[in-house]
Amino acid sequence: MTSTSSEFLAVLRRGDRRAAFRVIDEALDAGTELREIYLGVVQPAMREIGRLWQENELTVAEEHLATAIVQLVMGRAFERVFVWRDSRTPVLIAACADEERHQIGLRMLCDLLEMEGWDTMYLGASVPIESLVDLVRKHEPDAVAMSATIAPHVVRVRNAIAAIRAADLPKQPVVAVGGRAFLSDPSLATRIGADLTAADASDAVRLLEEQVGRRVRAP
C-alpha cells in the first residue's frame, strides 16, 4: 500500500469523513489522476477493510461507515475531474447482486468508463431481474456489467444473464461479471454465460474498451 492509501485507511478506520476528504483532495491537488486514486488509494484501503473484518478487527458497522465515507469521497473526486464530452457512444448498464457495501467496485468501473467517454447507467444493488431486462430492452446497451461477492449471489447473476439472453433484443449486449466470487475461479464467468470477467475495475475497463469500445466507435 502507498502512504496515501495507508493514511486513507487510517482515517476510514477512525470513521473521519473530513480527514478522508482532505487526504483525497491533497492527492488530487498534487496531480494524482482519478484512476490512480480509485485503484491505488481507495481499492487497496477497501480490500484492507474487508481483510480487517475477516480478522475480526473491524465490525460490520465500522465497515459500513467506511463504505459510506468512500461513496462520498468518490462522488467528490468524480465531480472535481469529470469533464463532459459530446462523443459518448458506448453504453453500459451496471447492476449489483449484493448489498450496498459491495457496490464500490462496480461504481469505480462506471466512473472510470465515464472518463473513457462511455455512457454508464449505474443501477445500484439488488435490482430485480425483470427491471434489469426492461432497462436493457429500453436502452439497448453495448455492455452489461454485474458483480457478486459471495457464491450464492452468483445464482442471481446467472439468472439475470439467462433472462437477458432469452429476451428478444435487436442486439445482445456483451455481459461482463466481476467481484470476489469470480476471482478465485475465473472459469465460473463463462459457465454462467458471461462474455468476460476481470480481476479489478482497471482490468474491466481495459477489456471493455478492447472488446466493445473500439468496435462501437469504429465508423
Binding site: G50, W53, Q54, N56, T59, V60, A61, H64, A68, Q71, L72, M74, G75, F78, E79, F82, V83, W84, R85, D86, S87, R88, T89, E99, E100, R101, Q103, R107, D111, E114, Y122, G124, A125, I150, A151, P152, H153, V155, S184, R217, A218, P219
Partner: protein, 388 residues
Amino acid sequence: MMTLPAPPTVALTVDLAEWPGIVIRISADARVMATNGRLDALLGVDIVGRSMMELLDHDSSWQKWERIASGSDTSERVWELIFGASDRVLDTGAYSVMRLGKNEGCWLIEHPTPPLLSALASEVALVNTDLAMAQRTLVIERARLAGALIEVERSNSALDEFAHAVSHDLKAPLRAIREYADVPGASRMAKTEAESARDFRRIGELASRMRRMIDGALDFARAGQSGSRLETLDTGALLRDIVVFLAPPRGVTIRIAPDLPVLDVERVPFEQVFRNLLSNAITYRRGDNAHVEVSVLDAGAQWEFIVADDGPGISELEQQQIWRLFHTSRPGEGTGVGLALVKRIVESQQGTVSVRSAPGAGSEFRVRWPKQAAGSQGPRSAGDAVTR
C-alpha cells in the same frame, strides 16, 4: 457429500432454547450438535450433524471460524459471521463464543439485533446509496449543461459576427450597383452608349460577385453542421487528389509529405479545409512561382497539419483580419469566405487553426485536427442558430 457419523446430541437448557437469537452447540470437530432451531428455520435446512464449513457462507467466514475453533484467540471478542446454505445467505450476525472444556467444543450465541435497529440500518444504507447515485447524476448533468452553455456562447458570437458581415459587407457591391445604375440626372452628364454598356457589364459582375458571396455565406453557415458519416481516409491520398483537382499552373509546386496519417473524418469538411488553404496558396503567390509544402506533426490528441508557402506573407495587422467572413486582401478576386470557412469547419470539429507569417517570408497555416472525431454523432445545441 461425505456422510458424517451421527454426532452426540445434547439437550439445550431452557434458557438457551428461548434465546431470541441463534444458538448452536458445536463439537470439537466442528459439527453442529444442538440448535435452538432458529438457524435451521432461517436457512431452511436441518443443521444438526452438519459441518460448520457447510453452513458458513464463504471463505471469509471460514477463516474466522478456523480461528475460533483453534482456540488461538482467547479474547472475549464478539465474532461476526455469515451463515448460508443452498441459495440463501443470512445477514451478518454477531456471536459470542462460550468455550466448554477441552475437546468439548463450544456454544455459539447470537446477539440479537432489535428489528427496528436492523430496519433503520438498512434504510440508512439505502439512503446513502441513493444519495451517492443522485450526486453522480448531478455531476454528469451539470457538466453536460456547462458544455452546452459554452456551445451556445460560441454560437451566439458566431451569429453576431455573421450578422455583422452580412449587413456590412454585402452592402458594398449593392452600393456600387446603385452607383452604376444611376440614371442620368441633373448632377450627371448623360452617359455615352459605350459608358452605359461598360456600367451594365460592371453591374453584371457585381451581381455575380454578390451571388458568390451569398453562396459563400450559406456554405459558412452550414459549415458548423456536422453529422455526416465518418470515413477512414488516407489524408495523403486525399491531399494529392485535391492538388490534381486544383490543377496548379506551371511554376507552382505542391509537395505533400509521405507520412500523412490515415484518419477517421467526415470527408467533405476535411477536404474543404485543405482545398481552401491550398487554393489560397496558389492564388496569393508571389510572381509566377510558388512552393507549397504540406506536412504533419503528432500533437498528442491531435494531428497538426502544416500548409507552408513562400508567398508574399501576411502582415500582423492583416493576420487579425483574415479569419473574418468576407475579408479579402484582393476584393476583385476573392469573396473573403475561404479562410472564414476553414476556421469555422476546423472549430466545429473541435480543432484549431492558426497562421504564422511575416511580409516577404511566406505563410504557414497550422490546422490541428482531433485524432478522435468528436461530436460527429451528437446533436448540436438548439442555440446554434447560424447553422440552421
